[in-house]
């Protein structure tokens, strides 16, 4: 092979590399009527797509696309690069607050806010940049074989390893409700939770430190409690609900549950943001869609009308039914977490490693 040919080949290879490098740039969303929804993946995402998006998309002739999982860093990077192809993204409320203030998210139209008000959405769960999409709870998830008769019904009992022996599973995540649970277990009145007395929380956590097992994912969580390795976990009610429905020996205890919710936001610069806002109004005004979503996931709907569509039996499994709402200790205050997330995460890392 002569030198010229080799150089030609190298040149072609280089050029094709350059082409590949640029190919990702074109956005195909702007012109067509489409919406990309982003969720955390898995079963919940499938149900959300099927119940909360597809009926709307069919009615209005919108092409639905999806992506997963939600990734805040990716969202940030998209907005900064000006190439946003995520439309409606399910996020945690503290992210909404921080990102909204930083200007990474699209502000909601007045029409969306009016719709939320009109359909009775809890104003606490609304934001300038996001609507709530589901309510869930940090419950006491327990193994029904290990605790057939009595199981912990309060956080104080959850922390009582003598009365209820065994490992405790907690989410390795500062906003996962661990500090709130510790403080309530230590006798702090729910209305005095915030701002959190972290020293007191860590002191309470010290008493069960050697019994704590951490989980990162929902799968790990159900694996821990169903296998009996950690017969008690501070759980996401929907995960336990699903595991129970599939025949695993687990159940939710709603006593002193900590209420929480997720929001849908639209990254700034999304070409079809108007379409996304139209969907928001539709979903808030369509109780049937929310009710079906709740029935399948165990996560509560955000409007009272949707709750009313569900039978008493179905409501029993939802965090915001009248019965479970009455047992709830407090709502997680995401305003607090938006401000303190970073520093508390560091303190939590230090405490865990110590």
């Amino acid at each position: 092979m002569n030198r010229k040919l080799v150089i030609t080949v190298a040149g072609i290879a280089t050029a094709s590399l350059a082409v590949v490098g640029c190919a990702g740039g074109a956005t195909d969303e702007a012109s067509e009527k489409s919406l990309t929804m982003v969720d955390w993946g898995g079963e919940t995402q499938r149900v959300a797509m099927e119940q909360l998006y597809q009926p709307w998309a069919e009615e209005f002739g919108v092409a639905m696309k999806e992506d997963s999982p939600t990734d805040y860093a990716k969202l940030d990077a998209m907005v900064q690069a000006g190439k946003v192809n995520w439309g409606t993204v399910e996020v945690e409320p503290n992210f909404t607050e921080t990102a909204c203030a930083a200007g990474t998210l699209t502000k909601l139209d007045d029409a969306v806010k009016r719709a939320a008000e009109e359909h009775g959405v809890d104003p606490v769960t609304m934001s300038d940049c996001g609507i709530p999409i589901l309510q869930y709870s940090f419950t006491i998830g327990y193994n029904t074989e290990k605790f057939p008769d009595a199981h912990p019904t309060t956080w104080a009992e959850f922390f009582d390893t003598e009365k209820f022996p065994g490992k405790r599973g907690f989410w390795k995540y500062a906003t996962g409700g661990i500090f709130e649970a510790a403080l309530i277990a230590d006798g702090v009145a729910p209305e005095d939770l915030y701002p959190l007395d972290l020293d007191r929380a860590f002191k309470k956590l010290d008493t069960i430190k050697s019994d704590i097992v951490w989980y990162d994912t929902g799968d790990q969580q159900t694996q821990l409690v169903a296998s009996g390795e950690a017969p008690l976990v501070q759980a996401w009610n929907g995960r336990i609900f699903k595991a129970q429905a599939s025949g695993q020996p687990v159940a939710n205890e709603y006593g002193e549950a900590l209420g929480t919710y997720e929001q849908i936001v639209i990254p700034k610069g999304y070409a079809n943001a108007d379409l996304a806002q139209e969907w928001m109004q539709w979903v808030l005004a369509t109780p049937a869609a929310q009710a079906e979503y709740s029935k399948q996931t165990g996560y509560g709907p955000v409007t009272p009308a949707a709750l009313e569509l569900l039978s008493a039996d179905e409501q029993k499994e939802l965090p915001n039914s009248a019965e479970n709402q009455a047992k709830m200790a407090a709502m997680i205050d995401y305003g607090y977490w938006a401000e303190h997330y970073s520093e508390v995460t560091e303190q939590m890392n230090v405490w865990m490693a110590g």
Partner: protein, 296 residues
């Protein structure tokens, strides 16, 4: 990985002339790779370095924050400790395995190769979950031992230091065995016979002829194992307890949850600098370049 390959390539091409940069027409074929590395490796690396000094505000703030909390250096040191230990254990297991592969008939060699590679083709996440099912208190091993009456209480293997090392060694083995085997299979076994013919005992011939000739493969395998072990975080996060946190996990936490990109960049830079320092020191004593480029 690329270090090893690019370092080896010129020596092949230039061996007769003993010159490193004797590029002929074929050398131009390297250009796409160089451009690729610059685009996907060098540019992001520089961007990260810059970010660690500029985000959220210019200055050394991120580095001050790294040192202000002892946790971070502690975790970085733990990361090096775990990586070194994993490398050592991997070496002890991989060397005999690779050696055995050169001795057995081809059929068995293929079987050994497949046994080692099948896990390699499975995702790290899946393998770690499989190990959880095996190792946990209510897992396969503990249940079996309890059922046959060997133990009364389950032995805690999950979320311990040994659990982390076990899992990481399992992931690392192919990276050590493959380069070792590649080098060993190229060693002329008549050299050992010649040594014995000249009066060496078989063990003497092994240690003084075979082992030195296998050093390039061992060095490559160790380097690969060590460098990638430094970046592990999925396996330690799943199999270890919070005491076994590796720096990769904290960096990911800062990037994807806390969103302090500048601070994450500073942590990553610390890891990079300390790794380079360590390799520099090791290079002084071990002469890595020579070990890697030596022809067997």
């Amino acid at each position: 990985m690329s270090t090893v390959e690019t370092a080896a390539a010129p020596s092949t091409a230039a061996a007769p002339k003993r010159k490193y940069f004797a590029i002929d027409g074929w050398g131009a074929l390297v250009v796409p790779l160089v451009i690729f590395l610059v685009v996907v490796f060098l540019v992001p690396l520089v961007a990260m370095l810059v970010k660690s000094f500029t985000d959220p505000e210019p200055g050394f703030g991120n580095y001050v924050a790294v040192f202000a909390e002892p946790l971070y250096m502690k975790v970085i040191m733990n990361t090096f400790y775990v990586a070194l230990l994993v490398t050592l254990v991997t070496l002890l297991l991989a060397y005999p395995y690779a050696y055995l592969m050169t001795l057995v008939p081809p059929l068995w060699r293929n079987i050994m190769m497949v046994i080692m590679l099948i896990p390699f083709w499975t995702s790290v996440l899946v393998r770690s979950f499989a190990l959880i099912v095996l190792l946990r208190d209510t897992g396969v091993i503990n249940t079996m031992l309890t059922d046959i009456g060997a133990i009364d209480e389950p032995i805690t293997m999950l979320r311990t230091f040994s659990g982390v090392v076990f899992g990481m060694v399992q992931v690392s083995l192919p990276f050590a065995v493959l380069p070792m085997y590649a080098t060993m299979s190229g060693i002329d076994n008549r050299l050992g016979l010649a040594a014995q013919n000249l009066g060496a005992r078989p063990s003497g011939a092994f240690w003084r002829i075979f082992v030195p000739l296998s050093v390039p493969g061992v060095a490559a395998g160790l380097l690969l194992t060590f460098i990638q072990a430094l970046g592990y975080y999925i396996t330690p996060a799943l199999l270890g307890g919070p005491q076994n946190t590796m720096i990769g996990e904290l960096i990911v936490q800062q990037v994807s949850a806390v969103l302090r990109y500048g601070f994450a960049a500073a942590l990553a830079t610390m890891l990079l600098v300390l790794t380079l320092v360590l390799l520099g020191v090791a290079g002084k004593f071990l002469n890595l370049e020579k070990a890697l480029m030596r022809r067997s």
